[in-house]
Subunit: 241 residues, 2 copies
DNA sequence: CGAGCCAGTCAACGCGGTGTTGAGTGAAGG
DNA sequence: CCTTCACTCAACACCGCGTTGACTGGCTCG
């Protein structure tokens, strides 16, 4: 009964070490122990962080399903029941990890992409590059999260949120380009934005995991950028014969 | 010890009911009982089929992880140990299901797409439509298989095979179009093929599951076709300002 | 300063799912 | 008839999960 109540973020603890960087992100586990912990007793945060880094390390070698909670606990130097004091489940750990990645990609994107773009080509290209770099840097987490998405509703929701944000921005940018007469109509801007962002997600995933046919790392960004430009600015094709 | 030896396909049984339609597809489970069964004692095949249909039925309501082997066995009117006589694991069942879908999409595609195309636009469009129809018809299996792909190496391999086949065809068709001067260069044909097929996979998945931002069912095929045409035939963009 | 609270910890338990063993049964078939 | 072989299942061993309940040691407040 000493479990922390469903209070997500009580106040700024002394140490600035809080791992879950941004986004509200509800807890994962069914019932009992939601994510956060109340006070800032130092050892506590260290443990939480130890769990996260252990998870990231193990994920580099094996899929989430092959990692037991006991592995995570041992890796962090605690017992299995103690693990549950910090996280409600394995999934919750991965979700916390994913939170950090999402926060980073969003933050980076904001600093670079706020201007609509004097030169559209480089504008779109740099947006793609940011996605690529962040995915690449945290590939283990991203790959594991993609797997989670298939079976875990909370994971799906989280990912859907990210995609919504990005397709929203993309759609707005496309509409702006259309408004100034630079891009043709033909597909609703929102749908086109969904398609292009889906493309990035799937292609980058394939390139970074390397299963199935994939685009080589050295040229993914350029190839994707070319497809984006053609899809956004290209006319509906003469398709001659 | 009466378990069937690792013989995948011994000879054509009397009944033409063999469920695993095409592709060699090694067994899934770690060690003991690989997929097939030897002779054609009728009750045997019926059982195997009963398991498959039960799986497909249950998948319509719940994810694979929520389905226990006992559910499958009971649904087919057998006990749990007996289940293992037919399949090595839950995953093997899904893989068998997926085999059928793959065989169907490949077969359908072959009948429709063999000619290079008098009218490119409709050619590409009908290729996309076939994918869409088949995905749609077996959406539960496809969705479950996509989830499996994240954690199961055999599932990954199977899916990679399909994608290889399709990107190969697409790349060949693109190169043919380039050869006759109808399409420009700019991206290696193979890479473009990978990108476009990845796009289809991800977008159709999103549309059929409905999580995250998605393209409406009524227009997916058209929108995708437009993107394909622009990506294949569009020039590298004037991108003016 | 002593009482009490509270973050933090873990041995031990119960549960549900998995895969295996070993003993059967009944129909073909020599 | 007696063997063989496809097929079946009760019972078992095992593992990972999530929970309980008891314990500890530092902090705070009367």
């Amino acid at each position: 009964m000493s479990r922390p109540a469903p209070t997500p973020a009580p106040g700024p603890g002394p140490a600035a070490r809080t791992p879950t960087a941004a986004t509200p992100t509800a807890a994962t586990g069914r019932a009992p122990s939601p994510r956060g912990r109340r006070t800032a007793r130092p050892s506590g945060d260290e443990r939480e962080l130890a769990i996260l880094t252990t998870a990231e390390r193990l994920l580099a070698e094996q899929p989430l399903t092959a990692i037991s909670i006991d592995d995570l606990a041992r890796g962090a130097g605690i017992s299995r029941p103690t693990f549950y004091f910090y996280f409600a489940s394995k999934d919750a750990v991965l979700l916390a990890l994913l939170d950090r990645v999402i926060a980073q990609v969003n933050a980076t994107a904001r600093t670079v992409l706020d201007d609509v773009g004097s030169d559209p080509a480089t504008h779109w290209r740099s947006a793609i590059r940011i996605f690529y770099e962040t995915f690449r840097e945290h590939r283990t987490v991203v790959v594991a999260a993609a797997a989670l998405r298939g079976s875990h509703s909370e994971g799906r929701r989280l990912w859907a949120g990210v995609m919504n944000l990005w397709t929203g921005r993309t759609a707005a940018a496309i509409e702006a380009e259309r408004a100034r007469g630079a891009a043709p109509d033909g597909i609703p801007a929102h749908d086109l934005a969904v398609i292009l962002n889906s493309t990035n997600e799937r292609v980058l995933y394939g390139t970074l995991t390397g299963d199935g046919p994939a685009v080589p790392e050295s040229t993914v960004v350029d190839s994707l950028a070319t497809v984006w430009l053609r899809a956004i600015y290209g006319t509906t094709t003469p398709a001659g014969r």
